[in-house]
């Protein structure tokens, strides 16, 4: 299972505690995981990626195995540690503000 860590606001919105576990068919890409996340929790549609364009919202970040994948295309394959569930994919609210 793919593990996803959501920021507190989105955990509350989705009504989940802790990590989200998702079954994602290979190849496990960034876009496929986000598709699965939104399918499992439709309330997150529009909260991470824009409706329609599916572009990442400006103040959302994706981190995996200490790498920033925020600017990578949706077909980017996730690291093996994410694929086998050893590490989670982090969806993060960017540090912004003062």
């Amino acid at each position: 299972m793919i593990r996803v860590v959501l920021p507190a606001h989105l955990r509350k919105l989705a009504g989940v505690e802790g990590e989200v576990a998702l079954a994602v068919d290979a190849p496990v890409t960034l876009g496929a995981v986000l598709d699965a996340l939104e399918a499992a929790h439709p309330v997150l549609r529009g909260a991470i990626r824009d409706h329609g364009s599916l572009r990442r919202r400006p103040f959302v970040r994706y981190f995996a195995c200490e790498e920033d994948l925020s600017h990578e295309p949706p077909d980017t394959r996730l690291p093996e540690a994410i694929v086998v569930g050893r590490e989670p994919l982090h969806v993060v609210g960017a540090m912004a503000g003062g």
Binding site: A8, V43, R45, A47, I48, R57, V60, G93
Partner: protein, 371 residues
């Protein structure tokens, strides 16, 4: 005994204030949706247990929440606000054309005849409608597609449709106000719109009496006298007695005619309320005195209401959607400040008390009068 429920939207969550008809002891609950900007909450006039809430952040976008039990529980409904057809462009701050981009819902206006019908005024300025309890939203594109649309440009708060007033007496008639485009009227349920800004004069635009481009801050109407509209403009308090066809200034003896909210007494259509603010760059009350001004003559002659309000060292603002009236007798008036205070008056404004003092900055205040 009747009771009231005050719905307060703040920059960091929503709060619900409950009292019985005396309105002297309040129960404060919240925050709901803590950490989110709650631009507006409003109850359905058809079913007061149904309440709508606009929830957003710059990080995670827009949600619409709906309660069907008077605010005890909430469920997110649809949040896809897709502009209809070719998106087009409007004027940007630097004079270039900029694509219309949805940012947030500023104002929710439930319909008077159907609890599943609700309108949303959004930034960038457009009007959306849901007929299915908020599950789906459809733009009424004629407003944004008005021939003047490409010339609209954002005010300091963005290009926002912040005011929507529904005329209960005239089927299909509604009014919208956009900063900084002005006021518009539809007589066919939003199918077509025309500017209604004749008589507005704004020094901050190239042609002071242009058909569009005015920064209208809010419009208020008494439901029993829908031809009469009151407007707080960027500067100037205005009045129309012909459904917006023409406007005359009624600022009269106000210490400043800059401000944001304006509202009408529930039982006296000629009694109106504003909160004067020093200027467009000094968003706080003149002389540090928080004063609501009341006119019992529909404008021009104003009296300061100060009893119970801070009369020294007060430098808060009151935003456009942050004042409301209940329908009890005597009429109750409520407003919230950017300093987090919500004040209420149970006697038409003669005396005020702080209901709660230390909330996050208040963005909106609405009241439900309940049996």
């Amino acid at each position: 005994m009747s009771r009231v429920r005050v719905l307060v939207g703040t920059k960091k969550g929503a709060f619900v204030l409950n009292a019985d008809g005396k309105r002297d002891r309040w129960e404060v609950s919240g925050p709901l949706f803590g950490g989110w900007e709650m631009y507006h909450l409003k109850g359905s006039p058809v079913d007061p247990d149904r309440i709508w809430a606009s929830q957003s952040t710059g990080w995670f976008g827009q949600q619409i929440q709906r309660s069907d039990d008077g605010g005890r529980s909430w469920n997110p409904v649809g949040n896809d606000f897709a502009y209809s057809g070719e998106t087009g462009t409007h004027q940007w701050y630097d004079g270039t054309q900029h694509p219309w981009e949805f940012a947030r819902v500023w104002h929710l206006e439930p319909a008077h005849d159907d609890p599943d019908s609700v309108y949303a005024g959004v930034e960038d300025a457009a009007l959306f409608h849901s007929r299915d309890g908020g599950r789906t939203w459809r733009e009424l594109p004629a407003l944004r597609n008005h021939e003047s649309g490409a010339s609209w440009q954002p005010g300091a708060g963005g290009l926002c449709l912040h005011t929507l007033v529904l005329d209960r007496e005239t089927p299909g008639r509604m009014y919208a106000a956009i900063s900084a485009a002005g006021a518009f009227r539809s007589d066919d349920h939003g199918g077509s719109w025309r500017p209604i800004n004749r008589g507005l004069v704004s020094a901050g635009i190239p042609d002071p009496d242009a058909e569009v481009g005015h920064c209208v801050h809010r419009i208020a109407m008494h439901p029993r006298r829908p031809e009469t509209l009151y407007m707080q403009k960027h500067w100037d308090v205005m009045r129309s007695d012909d459904g917006g066809e023409s406007w005359t200034e009624v600022s009269g003896n106000l210490p400043s005619d800059f401000g944001f909210p304006i509202d009408v007494h529930a039982h006296e259509p000629e009694t109106i309320y504003v909160v004067p603010i020093t200027s467009d760059s000094e968003h706080y009350p003149p002389e540090g005195k928080l004063r609501v001004y009341r006119s019992r003559s529909g404008g021009n002659e104003w009296e300061a209401l100060t009893e119970g309000l801070p009369q020294e060292n007060c430098y808060v603002n009151v935003l456009r959607d942050a004042m409301a009236v209940d329908h009890l007798d005597p009429c109750g008036i409520y407003f919230g400040t950017t300093g987090g205070q919500v004040y209420g008056s149970a006697d038409g404004g003669d005396h005020w008390q702080p209901i709660v003092r230390d909330l996050p900055a208040v963005l909106s205040v609405e009241v439900q009068s309940l049996p």
